[in-house]
Amino acid sequence: MINKKVAHVQDALKGVTNNMTFMLGGFGLSGIPENAIAELVKLGVNGLTCISNNAGVDDFGLGLLLQKKQIKKMISSYVGENDEFERQMLSGELDVELIPQGTLAERCRAAQAGFPAIFTPAGYGTEVAEGKETREFDGKMYVLEHAFKADYAFVKAWKGDAAGNLIFKGTARNFNPNMCGAAKITVAEVEELVPVGELDPNQIHIPGIFVQRIFQGEVYEKRIEQRTVRQRS
């Protein structure tokens, strides 16, 4: 067993510097690497490019890095729900590249899987495709989208072990598995780090080969963005 375990978030983020490009898992506030984000805020690194489907809310998730103006550029698919983000974007302080959600996932997966680029129908004929190579296959038009290049991927899983194996829970899975192994260094944080051998190999979502560092997060707030319930009848 190759040991990926580090004791603290500080060790997990070793080597992080200004002007790096990060991938961060999560959809909305679900499945975001809360502990890594908190540590990035503490480290005060800036000039960051962040690849993440969303940008958090004003006071949680990536919103915390936006507040401190640590992010130079965001690559996302949906950035509603964040007033500070909208302000920085419309004022030009923040560079924003909006791309289709499936394209974001596939550009991560391409990096993970060793493909330099993919062709997707998403965005053809829209401003997303401007300046990009297009090609026709079987009468339909596609846009060439390149694999991402990132320094670190910060992902969050439910359970993991020191070998780096990961299991996700519910829709907190989202982009996290696609980002594992898609950056130079993948840092996984888990709610529960279990002894090696405890996870059933049949149930592993991401094999440890895609993960360089793993640690158990100290605390998870797991904030709910839209609490919706039905009445008991």
């Binding site: 909305g28 499945g31 829209t126 319930v229 039905r230 008991r232």
Partner: protein, 217 residues
Amino acid sequence: MLDKNGIAKRIAKEVKDGYYVNLGIGIPTLVANYVRDDIEVEFQSENGVLGMGPFPFEGEEDADVINAGKQTITTLPGASFFDSAMSFSMIRGKHVDLTILGAMEVAQNGDIANWKIPGRMVKGMGGAMDLVASAENIIVAMMHTNKHGDSKLLKQCTLPLTGVGCVKRIVTNLAVLEIVNNGFKLIERAPGVSVEKIKKATEGLLIIDGDIPEMDI
């Protein structure tokens, strides 16, 4: 004239037995409430769940189980979770049978705009561009006019496009329409709404062929 629930109710009639359906945010989400209960349908949410159920009871919300609108949800027996790449494999790979989404504008050639108002509102496209670029069966659910009373069914979209030539069917508070031959073919009128009223509210080419029946909802 229909309200939002009325639009959802009418669209629910388009949902057939055995369909996998992706519902967008807003009016489309309401469609799930009106699907006949004697047919089998599975709802897909692009953040990574198939087999979505109703909202949870109070106290049973789970931060790890949400829909694409970030709302807490439940799952039904037979449901599955998956990552974002697989989710969009279902969508781009045409495994999802029906996509229902909202729009700011639709053009008579089937173009759709629903993600950006330059200089004012930029929330992003989320999964909409993937959905409209791939789905064979797209229904747009929206009000016929915007809050200023301007038509949302246009000759040409004025806002940045989400997709080109992709919309097939539109259900509004006034009518059911189909995109054919570069025009909006009027299929049904909402209860109590005249053809004249629909004409006035439609900026694009409206094709009226014979008597137009009233919706049966």
